[in-house]
């Protein structure tokens, strides 16, 4: 059973369709990267999963239980870190966590140790000041702590790293990796290197639908993502090949770049063998997820 399943989710704001028959399933114990441009509808999707927004159509289940808008029952399986987390500024981090613990009905005897443990995990253990003066990064950490408090089956983080400096980003990603031991993580982002760094699965969101979904390693091996670079000893030969085949491009180093489509690689190699063209280099290039993303979300 998946931790989260979304089927045919449609959401409109006025006459603007933000999500259009979106389908998504997040396998258990995965770190799931939810990638989309600004305004693609990532936050909208997450808020609908949390029952904070009313879907126009579709069905969402969390840990096998159906989400009903306004009724927050399924939320007891979920920990949520909002995109711009805001907490009660007049409390200290410990007081805030303890308050959250009480409303999640964590037994009083476990509460203290759990709060302290989480504050230690996110590095806010010695912070005795009120939340009022916290920086974005500190709020983000407290946000992760409160999201993990009720040991959720599903942790939803909305762009946890986008406002942070490189060090802060790495720290947050490390915390997420630690959290993976206990839970399934769905996090949205537009930073693809973060996805490559920690995600096991990913989905690309564009124009309200998922355009590509699967495991990160699978995406890397996608046929359409295989690219070859061919360098020849002689520039003249390069031109000869360019004329003989279609679908090749020339890069700055005068190398030929092409995709493996309908046996193009073998045709070219055949051509080279026949004409006895000296080859300098032939390389299989793994294209970064970023290029794949740009490709599948092309307007």
């Amino acid at each position: 059973m998946d931790a989260l399943t979304i089927t045919n989710l449609t959401k409109k704001f006025g006459d603007k369709t933000v999500l259009d028959k979106l389908n998504l399933s997040v396998p258990k114990h995965s770190i799931f990267g939810f990638v989309g441009k600004n305004g693609a509808g990532k936050t909208t999707t997450m808020k609908t999963v949390l029952g904070l927004l009313k879907p126009d159509e579709g069905r969402i289940t969390v840990a096998g239980e159906r989400v009903v808008y306004g009724q927050t029952k399924t939320n007891r399986h979920i920990g949520y870190l909002p995109d711009v987390p805001e907490f009660y500024s007049y409390m200290t981090p410990y007081e805030y966590l303890a308050f959250c613990g009480k409303i999640s009905e964590i037994p009083a005897k476990d509460l203290k140790s759990r709060c302290c443990g989480l504050l230690e995990l996110v590095g806010l253990k010695n912070e005795k000041h009120r939340i009022k003066g916290f920086s974005r990064g500190m709020k983000q950490r407290l946000g992760i702590a409160q999201a993990l408090l009720n040991r959720p089956k599903l942790l939803i983080c909305d762009e946890p790293t986008s406002a942070l400096d490189p060090v802060g980003r790495k720290e947050i990603l490390d915390i997420l990796l630690l959290a993976k031991e206990q839970t399934t993580i769905l996090f949205s982002t537009h930073i693809l290197s973060d996805v490559e760094r920690i995600c096991t699965d990913a989905a690309f969101l564009d124009k309200g639908t998922i355009v590509l979904q699967g495991s990160v390693s699978g995406m890397r091996n996608l046929n359409s993502s295989k690219k070859y670079v061919l360098e020849l000893a002689d520039r003249k030969d390069t031109e000869k090949i360019m004329q003989a085949f279609t679908g090749l491009t020339l890069n700055q180093n005068h190398e030929l770049v092409f995709r493996e489509e309908s046996g193009l690689l073998f045709s070219i190699l055949h051509f080279i063998a026949e004409q006895k063209i000296p080859v300098q280099k032939l390389e299989h290039m793994e294209i970064p997820l970023e290029d794949l993303f740009l490709e599948v979300t092309k307007p």
Binding site: L52, T72, F87, Y90, E95, F99, I103
Partner: protein, 256 residues
Amino acid sequence: MKTLLAVLKKEWMETVRSGKLTVLVILSVLFGIMNPAIAKLTPWMMELLSESLSENGLSVGNITVDALTSWTQFFKNIPLLLVVFVLIYSSIFTKEYQSGTLIPILTKGLPRYKIVLAKFILVFSLWTLCYWLCFLVTYGYNAFYWDNRTVSCLFSAALYWWLFGAGITSVMVFFSAFSSGSTGVLLGTGGYVTAAYTAGLLPHIKEYSPVMLTNSLQLLTASAKPDGCMKAVLVTVLLGTFSVAASVPLFNRKQL
């Protein structure tokens, strides 16, 4: 029940740490002192003014002040305390909508009605606290200077006015449950008061209007009987209960 208590504690912490409680307590005590003080000072002020008044051909007779003067001041000034109270607490929901502080709480599975209930209990108790604090201060001074027994039906009059205010706190919660800004809450609450006043002017519906509860002077001077307000009491209690009960489904439906 435990979760409700936790939310209540949080609301209380907010009221204390943001300084709202201090402001309200100081204001209530000040208002309470002001009523007998104004009554005490009236003859003296009149004397000061009498010279200029007599130049204009007006003569000032001997003015006697007693507990009634002071209680008249009380019921004249208490609307101001209520206005200040509503202004301070009109943002009790909307501030949370705007800053998004409710989202982490609600996404922990806390039933929404507990938030409505906790906030209502808080404003209701604070209104009760402020009102009776103000009342007690005035009562103490009046007992010291004059005699509270000379005014009739003091407690019924005070209880009715308190109920009118309590009705307004529940109406405020009602409008807060769905309007996104505090302007909406103020307009809605203002609308309720206006409607009540308008109803209070119409001959047949008059006695049902909550505004009847604020006719305190007639009770104090014994020109009206407390039983005359029973219909208004009933309407106010029903409206108040309905407002709080209706805010729950409204708040459940609110997109945050």
